[in-house]
Amino acid sequence: MSFIFIIYYLLRTMEYSQKFLLNPEFKVEKFDNEILLYAVSNTSGIYLNETAYLVWEMCAQEQTVEEIITLLEDTYPLQKETIREDVSAAITSLVEYGALIVSSDE
């Protein structure tokens, strides 16, 4: 219950100026149009859809959440209504799996 609360809290309070860092323990395995993230130290694998992978790549470029949203909204104007929510959900999920770490840099 407390874990769900933490995720809910993270979604509600996500700072859009926040940056997230890639956890270096996670590696990428590319399939045709898909991505699998996996941790080297254990056997956890995370399937990423296209949005989540774009988010992952932009986090690697040290973009803030707002910059990621703006870039995706510009690239996919027809999906503008859902992009903010999709990006928040993708980041929350990647943080939950430990694949992204909250950066201390603002």
Partner: protein, 285 residues
């Protein structure tokens, strides 16, 4: 411990070049060890990594399982004893085995290839596998396989079916067996696979299909194709030895996922299921 009792038997068992020796002290243990390990036995000249002593003694026929001076089971329950012993054998076969990817999965197979049914404990894979075997499929395992990179070859850990106690009603719906046929306890029961289908071939076929089974009460039977990446993530969840994935890398597992059709199988009943599997995968069922 063994110095005060006469050894009644010794056998070496295991799979994929990892073996253990089981020394029995007590005639009645011979049949119990045979029940568990008859498909895992190798010649006595095979070198074992460790040995276990199994004993029965006293008026209450107390059973015990020893590894050196450490005991892993001591009690009266044949099922719990058998469960402990088979888990020790599995552990020893996997812990330092770098020959392939150890996957928590059931499997059936023929010369045309193996069907892998990965799933964690409680997903009903043993019951589903027993039912498929009752329909004529060749049993390989209900617990563990090692997938080798060479030709996607599948090495099964062939043991008796091990069921949760809740499966007994479903099992009784398609198989007649008595208490004398099984080893049972509070937690579950074990049943020889030859009771379900006496036709058995110890095969190590190439992997042909992966089905991720999920029993979902009330749901219609549904087979849905999984993408390679999603299937690979699912397969990783059933990985047994994390050290192997560091040693062998994920690339090989990803290659299996790219080259093997993977489906999710949702079912709530066996009605019409076999016919659907035959229609979809005619060479494998």
């Amino acid at each position: 411990m063994s110095a005060v009792m006469n050894r009644t038997g010794s056998r070496t068992v295991g799979f994929c070049d990892q073996y253990v020796t089981i020394n029995s002290y007590g005639e009645e243990l011979e049949s119990l060890v045979d029940f568990l390990c008859c498909d895992l036995q190798v010649g006595p000249e095979t070198e074992a990594r460790v040995s276990y002593d199994v004993m029965v003694r006293g008026r209450n026929s107390m059973l015990s399982l020893w590894h050196g001076d450490q005991y892993h089971y001591f009690g009266e329950c044949r099922y719990e004893f058998a469960y402990s012993l088979i888990n020790e054998i599995i552990y020893q076969c996997i812990v330092d085995n770098g020959a392939g990817h150890a996957i928590h999965a059931a499997a059936i197979g023929s010369e045309n290839g193996a069907v892998l049914l990965p799933g964690k404990s409680g997903f009903g894979k043993s019951t589903l596998t027993a039912w498929l075997v009752s329909k004529g499929c060749n049993y390989l395992t209900d617990e563990l396989v090692l997938l080798s990179g060479k030709n996607k070859q599948l090495f099964p850990f062939t043991r008796p079916f091990s069921m949760k106690i809740g499966s007994s009603a479903i099992m009784s719906s398609f198989l007649h067996y008595g208490l004398e046929d099984i080893i049972s306890g509070k937690g579950g029961f074990m049943l020889p696979h030859r009771l379900v289908n006496p036709e058995f071939s110890p095969l190590t076929p190439a992997l042909a299909l992966i089905l991720f089974p999920e029993y979902r009460s009330g749901a219609p039977t549904e087979l849905s194709r999984l993408s390679s990446a999603f299937g690979c993530a699912q397969l990783m969840e059933c990985y047994v030895n994390a050290r192997n994935i560091q040693g062998l890398g994920i690339s090989q597992l990803a290659e299996f996922s790219r080259n093997t059709p993977m489906y999710k199988l949702v079912y709530s009943s066996f009605d019409g299921l076999y016919e659907q599997l035959q229609d979809t995968f005619p060479t494998l069922f």
